[in-house]
């Protein structure tokens, strides 16, 4: 792998950039691999990377029906945080956060992970109770998290309306300084390049059309480019997980919903941190290019259309202008939708399945992007050892039968 550095870049510049290598190969599928990862998004590529790097399993194929990183990695609002309420979820996201913190260097690819802090606002007394409950839990779990007063909030975000005149005045917030945003596409590319360098075959434009299953065990996949064999198959296909599960003959407790987001035109820097409000329902940050990235809610119906309902956009911008009245004259450039696979308890599934050798990593809902490295890391461990990683164990499919849900719905602050 060509090492990237400022010095190297300058050298390339003198050669008119004619000597850059491909960031990943475009290989022909082999007949057989040790492990097949279905889904070439951030999570799938991370899984492949950590399989190769941490477990020495390099004979791995990542099978992607479109272009790598083209799913939710390509269309999210890039927020990374780990201030989750429940121990199980907090462990998972904090594991991920620690990997984020060294990720650019580990991958030799600057994913522009910017720890500019995430603020979750509270507008009602119950919001405040939830914030305090979550922050206290975070602190005892070793996650940086504090409660802010309205005055402290105003100091960090001077342009926000923190007055009592607001319809739902801001009463406080939780604040995670280590949280932030990252350059979403670069995460997929960085993992792809690093995994490829370790020998992983990334097979783009390769669509899984079925599983080879005999006697309750998986032996590989059928694809539009022929059959590929492996005795371990990990599906990391987000919104398409339900479709894959159906091919394998079982159902999942998942529904795929449109999640919308939008960006403004690029503006000179005006907002330095991530602000989220579950109560008035909108969240916002500003990219290094100057766009305000704004998250809208999930639409209530199932949808694979990568678009959602217009009223959701209206409500989101109403919330944003309520919090930031000065943005009324700023203009919205683009909106789009992702497809999020949501579980009833707003927590993911990292689990073995009724089919031996077949594992699923899905159900991340709106929390997928921030989990990318952690999800890949524990899922690789699970695939390599054929046994759930301790952090992954609470997220098995069984919980929907025993009732042991990890109910992040319970504690607000869950979304996104």
């Amino acid at each position: 792998m060509q090492r990237y550095s400022g010095f190297g870049l300058a050298k390339h510049a003198l050669n008119h950039h004619e000597n850059w290598e491909r960031q990943w190969r475009n290989p022909t599928p082999k007949k057989q691999y040790d492990v097949i990862i279905v889904g070439g998004g951030g999570h799938g590529l991370a899984t492949a990377y950590y399989l190769a790097k941490e477990h020495g399993i390099t004979n791995v194929a990542v099978v992607e029906k479109g272009w790598l990183g083209g799913g939710n990695t390509a269309r999210n609002t890039t927020i990374v945080r780990s201030n989750y309420l429940w121990d199980e979820a907090a462990a998972l996201y904090e594991h991920s956060m620690k990997l984020w913190e060294g990720l650019s260097q580990d991958l030799n690819y600057n994913v522009m992970f910017s720890q500019r802090g995430v603020m979750n606002l509270a507008h009602t007394l119950q919001d405040m109770r939830d914030v305090q409950r979550r922050v206290n839990a975070n602190r005892l779990n070793g996650i940086d998290s504090v409660v802010l007063t309205p005055e402290e909030i105003q100091e960090i975000v001077p342009i926000m309306d923190c007055s009592k005149n607001a319809r739902y005045p801001i009463l406080g917030a939780s604040w995670q300084p280590r949280a932030g945003v990252a350059r979403h596409d670069a995460v997929a590319w960085g993992f792809a390049r690093a995994a490829d360098a370790l020998g992983v075959d990334i097979l783009q434009n390769t669509e899984v059309t079925g599983f080879k299953i005999r006697d309750g065990r998986v032996y590989g996949v059928h694809t539009n480019r022929g059959d590929i064999e492996a005795r371990t198959v990990g599906c990391v296909a987000a919104g398409n997980s339900g479709v894959l599960a159906k091919m394998a003959g079982f159902r999942l407790p998942l529904e795929s919903h449109p999640l919308q987001a939008l960006v403004s035109e690029p503006l000179k820097p005006v907002l330095d941190t991530v602000v989220m409000s579950n109560h008035v329902h909108g969240y916002i940050s500003q990219t290094d290019k100057g766009d305000l990235v704004i998250g809208a809610g999930i639409d209530g119906y199932n949808g694979y259309g990568q678009r959602g309902s217009y009223p959701t956009v209206e409500h989101t911008l109403q919330a944003i202008v309520e919090m930031f009245p000065i943005f009324s004259r700023v203009r919205m450039n683009r909106q789009w939708g992702g497809i999020v696979d949501t579980c009833p308890d707003a927590c993911p599934i990292l689990s073995a399945t009724p089919v031996k050798g077949l594992f699923f990593n899905c159900g991340w809902g709106t929390g997928g992007f921030k989990a990318t490295p952690g999800s890949g890391h524990v899922f690789a461990w699970t695939l390599a050892k054929n046994q759930a990683h301790p952090i992954a164990a609470p997220f098995s499919i069984d919980r929907f039968h025993t009732g042991a849900l990890v109910d992040e719905h319970g504690a607000a602050g869950v979304a996104h």
């Binding site: 910017s114 720890q115 783009q204 109403q318 203009r331 919205m332 849900l405």
Partner: protein, 1016 residues
């Protein structure tokens, strides 16, 4: 024709501007003049302003390139005052008004001399695509510092820092046919549909309807095309069934033909809406259109050619040159070189020539151009250089020359010696891309059409495209196509439209265009001077080539790696060229590389317009009870509970000093415990339930039993979801054998109502029962405290005797002469009467209570005191003490669970799952802090071992915690793992300030454990 003195590029006559009305404006601090009918762009060109901006990445000087929505460079900051600022206004779409003040969005200290351009010049080659991904990684700790400097360069315009003085609104529109675009196809379509009698909306983004007809060289019915457009618009304006919306951009096509149209109501009049008759009209308005059918007559965007130096001011697309000359009477230069791949673009040279300025040459990539426009140019003696193209523009702040050479487009090589032609303007045309954005929003993937060298829209049911929008660029064809499409659309709705007589167009023969996107240079792309594809994001052909070399093969990858098409113009000029370049580099065809997907908005839309009237005091409804006015007048502080405003506490001012919340709440609590208090409980949800099966239904939906509740009695009930978790609680009273009144929590009211209907309608339709919300009909006043009976007795005819009107009874009678239902239900643990009266009379009853209550010390109290009092009694609040993961058993409420009921009520089965049977589930308990002065923090986490290292195993948390003036100490409710069997044990609460509180696990009832006080 010659020029006006003040505006060097303004023609003496011609165009659709009003020379009699001169408008002054300021750009970058300098004053200029233009005319009514100008856009800011045409006025700047008239004044010879070449540099309108600096580019985003390389800080290169940029000029105006186009004349419409596709303009990538001319983005300005509008506004003379802070509050009026609008960032990133496209000068080509901003009508000029008197006093307009604008500035370039980039460039420091100014666009003429920009310091950053040095960086661009020197550093440009060090900033290939993916530059950030490859650098700034070492040392890791420095990234935030690097980023701080990167961020300084971010953005185009700036946000205003003051509140918007303007207002916005929405108009919900419905029509049979929405026609987007009022060019030839759109006008013909609207006329056809309108005469057919359908409800028609016609919108167009420009200041004036007519589209390409406004600058057409062609005649319709032997008169200028613009005149025909005027006649049609006049006819349409006179029809009742037609809504004409000029200055209105269709910016988003949503599901089932829901289209958002953004009308700029006053943006052509001033930077803020000018006041008329004391009323300030809306600045812009969103039309939320639900259409039966939609006809897209959105025209086409001309593609510029990609050649070296094509970003130097003075490079324009050919059609824009015609538009500026014919529509605005502005010639944007002296000496023109035109580089084309098609006949249509020859108009630019003809118009330029007619304007009396020099056409140096037309450079045509085709070997033997032979259409009629070519002949006209030849006839005028214009030099035509065949088989060639402009390969490079020379110049720094303005084009100074064009290097022209013969090329082999197929082989992508320059085949001859370059000739240098002195000129100040280069116009180019590589063909026409149908405007497919709206069709693309519907999810339909456009398809490549080799004949027209462009993507044409794929259409979902009910969408039609006509004219240039689907590649029919010929005027006669476009008119006929628009009319036919309208007839088809109406027919699909079962309406008929007669064919209209279309104006006569003189047939004009155009030769075949050739495919040309990037023009080859003598040097390979990576070494040639920059050839720009996306001007706004500074994406070059070399960047695209590099991306493909690095393995970015899908067009989506290329776009994301280079940022092509991510600007505010969404790549209207550049995307197809970029795809063509990627295709060339990958040895594929354009459609093989991918299609191009557009998302709303077509052009950016002000947040304010999307928000509409739903802001400030109308952001969200505030729900009030019938007693709201009294609360306001008595100084209540309010708590938001759902959308309700509930009195939180009633601070008194004593000796000129207003009580704190703690003081007020302590006073209110004691008043209730010692005398009598009153609470407005009207916000509780109330559902009237009637029917022979009402009782059976209650037995299935509640966890407890309802079979024997007698008329005149009330009972507390718990409601679970089918996963066994508590959902809501409340009392339900039996009004008569088949008639019940259910109460719900304030926040849960709507949800419970829908929940009852869900079960009734989907699972148990055989039950004869109806549910009707009466939340708003009844006002509820809780009079509670030892003196409650005495007070109430003064104004009621109900027998309040403790033996005849017992706890959990309800009675009818009169209170303050008003018919009332009075319930002896207590949420405070004290003697309590909930008085329900028809809400219209509530104020009278409330005031009468106070008139009689003074001697008893009647004290109004709010939600905070209510919370303290109920917590002292261990009464839960659903949503505060529960969170969707708590069962009735976890709450210790087995007494409210009918295990032996004959039916499997909702939630029952889930209670026997392995996890819900666990002994160490979190259970509701009381906590008594070891230090009585301590009031534990709500949300504090509980541990058994305070010395455990982090991460500490947490075993529960505090759900409710208050200071109790009755107990003289703090107390709390909490959930603790296995808590119900840990009475008397000590738990710890390590807090953020470093202190660790100790507390004893106790029962949940702190005051009057035997419940005697409510039974007096």
């Amino acid at each position: 024709m010659s020029q006006s003195l003040k505006q060097p590029n303004r023609l003496r006559e011609g165009g659709r501007i009003d020379r009699a009305r001169t408008l002054s404006f300021t750009f970058n601090g300098k004053r200029y003049q233009g005319h009514a009918g100008d856009t800011l762009a045409s006025a700047l060109l008239a004044n010879g302003v070449d540099i309108v901006n600096r580019s985003f990445k390389y800080s290169r000087p940029r000029g105006i390139v186009a004349a419409g929505a596709e303009e990538p460079n001319a983005l300005v900051q509008l506004g003379s005052t802070e509050a009026a600022q609008v960032p990133n206004v496209r000068a080509t779409q901003q009508a000029l008004f008197d006093g307009l003040t604008a500035q370039s969005t980039n460039g420091w200290p100014n666009v003429q001399r920009d310091v950053m351009s040095l960086v661009g010049k020197l550093g440009g080659r060090f900033m290939p695509p993916g530059f950030y991904y490859k650098t700034f990684m070492a040392p890791a700790s420095m990234w935030m510092t690097y980023e701080k400097y990167i961020r300084k360069g971010a953005g185009l315009g700036r946000s205003p820092m003051e509140r918007d003085p303007d207002s916005y609104d929405h108009l919900n529109q419905h029509c049979d046919l929405l026609v987007v675009g009022a060019g030839p196809a759109g006008l013909a379509a609207a006329l056809t549909a309108a005469r057919g009698g359908g409800r028609v909306i016609l919108c167009d983004e420009q200041e004036e309807m007519g589209g390409s007809l406004l600058d057409s060289r062609e005649l319709l019915d032997h008169q200028p095309a613009a005149r025909w457009a005027e006649q049609v618009v006049t006819e349409l304006a006179g029809l009742d069934n037609v809504t004409l919306l000029p200055r209105t951009t269709a910016n988003g096509y949503h599901d089932h033909h829901f289209v958002t149209l953004h009308e700029r109501c006053t943006e052509h009049l001033g930077e803020t809406a000018p006041t008329v008759d004391g009323y300030r009209p809306t600045r812009s308005r969103m039309h939320r259109v639900r259409a039966g059918q939609v006809l897209l007559a959105t025209g086409a965007h001309e593609r510029p050619l990609v050649y070296a130096g094509n970003d130097v001011p003075g490079n324009l697309v050919a059609g824009a040159v015609s538009t500026y000359i014919r529509r605005y009477g502005v010639v944007p230069g002296e000496k023109l070189v035109l580089s084309v791949s098609n006949d249509h673009a020859y108009r630019a040279a003809l118009d330029w020539d007619e304007a009396g300025r020099e056409v140096v040459a037309i450079v045509d990539a085709r070997r033997h151009p032979d259409g009629e426009l070519v002949e006209q140019a030849r006839a005028r003696g214009i030099r035509i250089i065949e088989g060639s193209a402009v390969i490079e523009a020379k110049g720094d702040k303005r084009v100074s020359a064009a290097r022209v050479a013969t090329i082999d487009a197929e082989a992508f090589t320059v085949t001859g010696q370059a000739e240098t032609l002195a000129c100040d303007t280069i116009a180019s045309s590589g063909g026409y891309s149908p405007v497919i954005h709206l069709a693309s929003h519907t999810g339909a993937r456009p398809t490549w059409n080799d004949e027209i060298l462009g993507f044409v829209p794929s259409l979902v049911k009910g969408v039609h495209a006509a004219g240039s929008a689907r590649g029919l660029h010929d005027l006669a064809e476009g008119l006929a196509d628009g009319s036919a499409a309208a007839a088809r659309a109406l027919a699909a709705l079962g309406l008929s439209a007669e064919a209209i007589t279309l104006p006569q167009v003189d047939a004009r023969r155009e030769g075949t265009a050739c495919a040309l996107y990037q023009v080859p240079h003598e040097k390979p792309t990576l070494r040639a001077p920059k050839q720009f594809v996306d001007l706004q994001n500074d994406v070059t052909a070399a960047a695209i080539e590099l991306a493909t070399r690095e393995g970015f093969e899908s067009i989506e990858h290329v776009k994301r790696y280079t940022a092509m098409g991510f600007g505010t113009d969404q790549g209207k000029l550049g995307n197809i060229n970029g795809m063509a370049i990627a295709a060339r580099c990958l040895g594929k065809s354009i459609p093989e590389v991918g299609t191009t997907v557009f998302r709303p908005n077509y052009t950016p839309v002000t947040f304010g317009a999307i928000v509409g009237r739903h802001c400030r005091e109308l952001f969200d409804p505030e729900r009030y009870t019938a007693l709201h006015q009294w609360h306001v007048e008595h100084g209540a502080e309010f708590e938001d509970v759902g959308q309700w405003k509930r009195p939180w506490y009633f601070p008194r001012t004593i000796d000129g000093k207003k009580e704190s919340m703690d003081e007020a709440v302590a006073r209110e609590c004691l008043a209730v415990r010692e005398k009598v208090g009153i609470l407005d409980a009207s916000t509780l949800g109330k559902i009237d339930i009637q029917g022979p099966d009402a009782r059976e239904f209650l037995g299935r939906i509640y966890t407890n039993k309802w079979a024997k509740l007698a008329p005149g009695r009330a009972r507390y009930g718990l409601m679970c979801k089918d996963d066994g978790m508590l959902m809501d609680d409340g009392t339900t009273s039996c009004l008569a054998e088949n008639h019940f009144l259910m109460t719900t929590t304030t926040g849960g009211a709507a949800g419970v109502m829908e929940w009852l209907e869900l079960w009734h309608q989907t699972e148990w339709p055989e039950l004869d029962v109806t549910f009707t919300s009466v939340t708003d009909h009844w006002a509820t006043m809780t009079v509670t405290g030892p003196e409650a009976r005495k007070l109430l007795a003064e104004i009621t005819d109900i027998d309040l005797d403790r033996d005849s009107f017992k706890f959990m009874d309800w009675r009818e009678g009169r209170v303050a002469d008003v018919p009332a239902r009075v319930f002896r239900i207590s949420f405070t643990g004290e003697l309590a009467y909930e008085i329900n009266v028809q809400a219209n009379y509530a104020m009278h009853v409330w005031k009468t209570l106070f008139a009689h209550g003074e001697k008893y010390g009647l004290t109004p109290y709010g939600t905070e005191t209510m919370h303290v009092l109920r917590a002292e009694k261990g009464f839960i609040i659903a949503g505060q003490d529960t969170d969707g993961s708590v069962t009735p058993e976890d709450l210790g409420m087995q007494w409210a669970v009918g295990y032996d009921k004959p039916n499997s009520w909702v939630g029952k089965r889930a209670l026997s799952r392995s996890d819900t049977r666990r002994a160490d589930r979190k259970q509701l308990v009381g906590l008594r802090p070891k230090d009585p002065k301590v009031v534990l923090e709500e949300g504090a986490q509980i541990v058994f071992d305070p010395d455990h290292a982090i991460p500490m195993p947490m075993v529960g948390h505090v759900t409710s915690s208050y200071y109790s003036p009755t107990l003289g100490s703090g107390f709390a409710l909490a959930v603790v793992k296995g808590g119900q069997s840990r009475m008397g044990e000590t738990v710890y609460l390590p807090m953020a300030d470093g202190k660790t509180h100790a507390a004893e696990i106790v029962g949940t009832i702190f005051v009057d454990p035997k419940g005697e006080r409510q039974n007096v």
